[in-house]
Symmetry: C2
Subunit: 510 residues, 2 copies
């Protein structure tokens, strides 16, 4: 059985059909098996062209009557990437052999890669030429300290080179970042208005969660729109001196966004790619002075002071090589910051601090003031010690809150975070003192409850390290949008995993 | 919008619909977004149950009218795994958290894993609980000498434990294996009939190609059926003393088959997984005496004598720990063996050797006799040096050919390998002496032509290392089932890649 349109010389023409299948961003093309005679069967990846755009899609062969003869179905990601309309004529060809995959293979086998190698890999990744399994092998090959400092710099430069690069026409341009891994550590929405209120420029782009229950962009999105395009972002910064937007919307490092999607599926962060991801976005965002928070604790992303020093060293030296003034500082990562874990619950804590509410979480306030203070010294020229005092005054006098409201208005309007309809408190199985909190398992409870996909989902932590609790006293409350999410999170929380350790008379127990 | 059948307590019930989508063995479930309220959106993986069987499937949300309300679509792999029929009621639940993924993550970060870890990983892999990206990260984390000998033994034992284990009720049971990487090295269909004709038991299971243009099972399949179930395989061995079948059909190491599928997509072999893959299948197949051929050459899978020694050491020591007598020996891997590369073209060479045809490839004959000779000594008790002479006599007297025919008949009937309709010879660009052959690029040409998916596709190599050729003299001929495959292979072959190096008067040129 042969379709005439299948034999147009080197290229094969098929009518585009939107199947409405969401494949988690992977480009997939669905085809009837009629083109076997042209040799498409042997390769799983096909080059699809339409109106000057192209994408490499994974072939799924459809043997049912889902597709009519002469039709090819596209996944939502492929449809959007090509800007296709129903019935458009797609041109299909064999995938050119990707030389850069040979370099990924070399890295898997432990070879050192050069900057040209990383450029080739990052260019192909950003162009959507890698299948998800290929991205996964690249991630795993680079994890576990398998990139030396030169390779990290090469990867960072390659990432900067593939995206847009912003120019604010002024200097200094301040920025901050947290390497993550500590639930509730949501200082950005507090630091940005303080620094902007003082007069420094701070056009902050944040990411969505990679492996955590909330990224800053997820949290901020419950308070104001964050999907701003570049002209809109510029208007906000021109007017208010700062913004808090999602970095993905301005495509500063398109390869990074592709890699982060697979990192999320793997629950994996590689150190070298972390440095490249952070600094490439800072450099592309036009930042000149950057403070980076590295929380350290047994269950934080960075577990030991030694690992934090190594990471800080990479961040400062690679930053320096890129022309950025970077200060990387450690902070306590032994327990979550604030009370809420999950986008809306964290937003509630942020608002309490900005409003100087009496019950506002002290630790979130302190950490935010520390970071804002460093930025006022690093980028603002205040003498050592004066930054923190200045930041505190700006917060106390309500200037930070007014600036935050103004920024939200400029971004599209301040809004109220949603609240979850389903809640359940988990009580202490016995009396005791809280001696250990497993951040990772706690974060997993919040994720199983639905965060960050459901912004109101997550949990509220009611106790701190060192606190004494009575039997039955609530330790944390799970919030979920659905009974299913609540059950799922609670069944994990009660499965005998040690999330919080309660010590009684010197004996550790759950 | 809510579907009543979506709320049956903890489990959600949907009608099965066969969408006929081939996702390359990954289990995928297609669902309308109506079950979002039950929290399925947040997880990409869903546990699907039917009639006591279960599979973990990747969720693809369908926003078009492809599915009716109350329906869930299944990919072909999921459909087969569940043994579903149209309209069956599927029970869906959240995926239990896979503890073994935490161990994969640890391995990615460079930790040493224990046997219990590998058992947990292999059990979940064999049960289809890993997504392809998770399999890919495991493969990459284990590649590049990142498994120590203890870990390789652990992984091997874990693989043996997950599958069936055959017992032939006798000893010795001979076996052979080649670590591959050398195109055309198709000795198995010659060694097995020699050894079986002498009287040794040799129930040989072979794999299909992983990253090469042909595996022994692919080649053998052009001569006789190889998809034998266990009872059929036993009947063949009882009657003829040997067989040459596909190992996947008897599920000796189900986890290995899953891993090989992703290895193929990644074009990646990890040393530790190679040892575990080979030896777990030998142990599970009930073999007691095993010879392993390791071709060594600059473009073979094993590139240096040192690497071959390391690999041979792992194979012999891990084999010993499993109770197997293993002899691993090096062979010349600097150029392909025989003339054909691709299933049917290699089968033609095999038949020539078995028939003592005047033009039969001498190298293929020699290597087969070497390996058969070692087996007759190792498992058959012949004194050193006598094995090879005995093997040669069996081949020369036609006993091997008669035994091969009998084995093929027992497996379902000897048949003629197919021939490809499209061929093109690539000539020498100038006169010179062949000083280098790139096995990997040559294999890639054969794969681009369609091998092993198209069994008649591949290439015939007309020259050997050291040979002098005239300008225009054919170097190799590409065979393909379609003009598209032929074009694809030829465009790669002519892209300026150095597949064969021709030296003229001391100057290397292409």
């Amino acid at each position: 059985m042969t379709v005439p349109s299948c034999h147009a010389g080197q290229h094969h023409l098929l009518k585009a059909r939107r199947l409405g299948i969401d494949t988690y961003q992977e480009a997939v093309i669905y085809m009837r098996p009629v083109c076997r005679s042209e040799g498409f069967e042997a390769q799983a990846r096909i080059l699809v062209k339409l109106n000057g755009r192209e994408v490499i899609a994974t072939l799924n062969v459809v043997t049912s009557d889902l597709l009519a003869q002469g039709e090819a179905g596209l996944s939502e990601a492929a449809w959007r990437h090509l800007g296709a309309r129903e019935g458009d004529t797609l041109s299909l060809a064999h995938t050119p052999y990707l030389e850069s995959l040979g370099r990924v293979r070399a890295k898997v086998y432990g070879e050192h890669l050069e900057e040209a190698d990383y450029r080739a890999i990052v260019r192909d990744v950003a162009a959507g030429r890698y299948a998800d399994v290929q991205l996964a092998s690249f991630m795993a090959a680079c994890a576990g300290n398998r990139m030396d400092p030169g390779e990290i710099l090469s990867l960072t430069r390659a990432m900067v080179a593939t995206g847009e690069r912003l120019d604010w026409g002024r200097t200094p341009v301040a920025d901050k970042h947290c390497v993550g891994g500590l639930p509730g550590n949501r200082t950005t929405p507090i630091v940005v208005p303080i620094v902007a209120a003082w007069g420094l420029t701070i056009p902050k782009t944040s990411s969505r969660a990679i492996t955590s229950p909330a990224g800053t962009a997820d949290t901020m999105e419950t308070l104001a729109p964050v999907d701003l395009d570049l002209p809109h972002m510029r208007r906000v910064v021109e007017r208010e001196g700062g913004c808090i937007v999602w970095g993905g919307a301005v495509s500063l490092s398109p390869a990074d966004d592709v890699l982060i999607r697979v990192e999320r599926a793997l629950d994996l962060d590689s150190e070298g790619q972390l440095v490249a991801s952070v600094l490439s976005k800072k450099a592309a965002a036009g930042s000149t002075h950057v403070v980076i928070d590295i929380p350290v604790g047994p269950t934080a992303k960075v577990r030991t002071p030694e690992a934090a020093r190594t990471l800080a060293g990479h961040l400062e030296s690679v930053g320096g090589a890129l022309g950025l003034a970077v200060r990387a500082c450690h902070s306590d990562g032994s327990q979550p910051v604030g009370r809420g874990i999950g986008p809306a619950l964290e937003a509630r804590d942020v608002l309490a601090v900005l409003n100087n509410a009496p019950g506002a979480p002290v630790d979130l306030r302190d950490r935010s003031l520390d970071l804002a203070g460093i930025l006022l010294e690093l980028g603002g020229g205040l003498p050592a010690g004066a930054g923190r005092l200045q930041a505190e005054a700006i917060l106390r006098e309500g200037r930070a809150w007014r600036k935050f409201q103004a920024i939200c208005e400029a971004q599209g309007g301040l809004r109220e975070p949603p609240k979850a309809p389903h809640r359940h408190a988990v009580g202490a199985p016995h009396a005791g003192r809280v001696t250990f909190i497993d951040n990772r398992r706690l974060a997993r409870v919040a994720k199983l409850a639905g965060a960050p996909g459901d912004p109101a989902a997550g949990l509220d932590l009611h106790v701190r390290l060192g606190e004494r609790v009575a039997a039955g006293q609530p330790l944390f409350t799970v919030h979920a949008d659905s009974p299913g999410g609540l059950d799922y999170a609670l069944s994990f929380a009660q499965e005998g995993e040690t999330i919080l350790t309660l010590e009684t008379e010197g004996v550790a127990a759950r």
